[in-house]
Symmetry: D2
Subunit: 162 residues, 4 copies
Amino acid sequence: MSTPGFLLIGVIGGSTPTPDEAAAAEAVGCGVAEAGAVLICGGRGGVMEAACRGAKGAGGLTIGVLPGISRGQANAYVDIRVVTGIGEARNAIIARTADVVIAIGGSYGTLSEIAYAVGFDKPVVGLGTWTMERVGHPAVPLVRVETPGEAVERALALAAAS
Amino acid sequence: MSTPGFLLIGVIGGSTPTPDEAAAAEAVGCGVAEAGAVLICGGRGGVMEAACRGAKGAGGLTIGVLPGISRGQANAYVDIRVVTGIGEARNAIIARTADVVIAIGGSYGTLSEIAYAVGFDKPVVGLGTWTMERVGHPAVPLVRVETPGEAVERALALAAAS
Amino acid sequence: MSTPGFLLIGVIGGSTPTPDEAAAAEAVGCGVAEAGAVLICGGRGGVMEAACRGAKGAGGLTIGVLPGISRGQANAYVDIRVVTGIGEARNAIIARTADVVIAIGGSYGTLSEIAYAVGFDKPVVGLGTWTMERVGHPAVPLVRVETPGEAVERALALAAAS
Amino acid sequence: MSTPGFLLIGVIGGSTPTPDEAAAAEAVGCGVAEAGAVLICGGRGGVMEAACRGAKGAGGLTIGVLPGISRGQANAYVDIRVVTGIGEARNAIIARTADVVIAIGGSYGTLSEIAYAVGFDKPVVGLGTWTMERVGHPAVPLVRVETPGEAVERALALAAAS
């Protein structure tokens, strides 16, 4: 039997989150798995590790799109370690591959991924992440939420609608 | 629970295989799934599609690392569609990500993937594929086999040993 | 004789600039060339084309790092057409290759390039471009200027200091 | 004035050449520069460095497409250091960017670049490099030559015809 491909939810965020951000990421990962979706992320520490731990705790499947050349870079909760070897250019792959992206906190890598995702017309849900604006440019279509549950709920709805 | 990551077996080959090559690819895909490994390939037609069909027929999991920007490029048997958008440069990602590579027939894309895999010290098993040599250079460490069953068997043994 | 490599100034911005942004880009390109630096950009239209035209008008050298697989994508003022074929992931290459980046207006591609450049610790000068902030995150170290002349002047000073 | 872009000749080969290969690469680089073409290569040592040295000795312009994230990887004869950060995936960029490729000796990286170049329909001239064949596949259209002078001459003719 052929398959239509799995629903992939991207979780992006920094490697040095606050405790609150890490807890939110774990809850988001859990929610992604409970919804039957696959988690895709950058595969490393911080928000990425917390999200993967949450997803695995709920019996989900996790994909880590690693920047370097060693699968040893992956956190311990990544099932499928995609070893790109293309460095931070892999941020574009995460944005292209995910059906929808949830951004939690984050630094410049996260900012680049938000920019890619929006530029690729992917829905983006933000939990305590960047605001970006430019005079004369339309507002960035980032859906801001306050809780992990709301993040997963909105992400699923946006993926279904796109 | 943490996981050590899945065993990923790459199957590479062309998009216009002979009927024998396509049949071999399907049998290899089936064998990969029966061994409990995950199939990773370029996600498109020909050898890639036949291998994915074989893996899905045996209840396996399949990953397609696509060159373009559309998941619609994937054949119907790809579960996880990694949309790289980096064109043929994605061949390096397949070679880096697979634990071991099985090459079946193929054209220049397959040749580039064999070259990458060997250069990255990944074991490569060849079924009716390229021979490459250069005066003064050590022989290419490609393990040649005659049947799909032998290809899977050798690939599993090489992955276990590496 | 060996050489230390050329000074490369990146100019980033959108493909649909306002007339003022295009005029600013042309003046920046002219200033880059007059300073003896090489202009590097995404090689396409809009801000990129205006900057290249300015640089060529002043006798400079221009590099276009193209996303697609055809050199025909380049605007008519690109001397060296780097055909990456890796799509928008090439934004990371522009940010890594430039000694300093000048952002003029722009949309999401420009935003991703600013994020990359700052994340790679490259100095960034902004002329009417994005503002980005996140609660709890240090301010983005983007040097804001008001005129093309100031943009080039600051870029040269920052490159010399880094 | 607009420009049609420069003629770019790629020189590919290994980082540990024999003395004869290094001498050939230097002569090729010299010939490329004397013909008024720009040399593009991987920017590192061995054949790449010898070719760049030859080109600079003849007053030419050199481009190095580096795999890593530091311009310090470049040999001392590279004028324009393109810092890709995408590792060996950059081999695809060299093959896409060059108008014609001259392969001198080389190991697996060179083999991947030959495969890419031929797959992208770029003319390839070989000086003591790989032979590749596969039963049932058309012969690889690689033009074999015996001397550096012949390599440059054939490369220029092929570029003019393509």
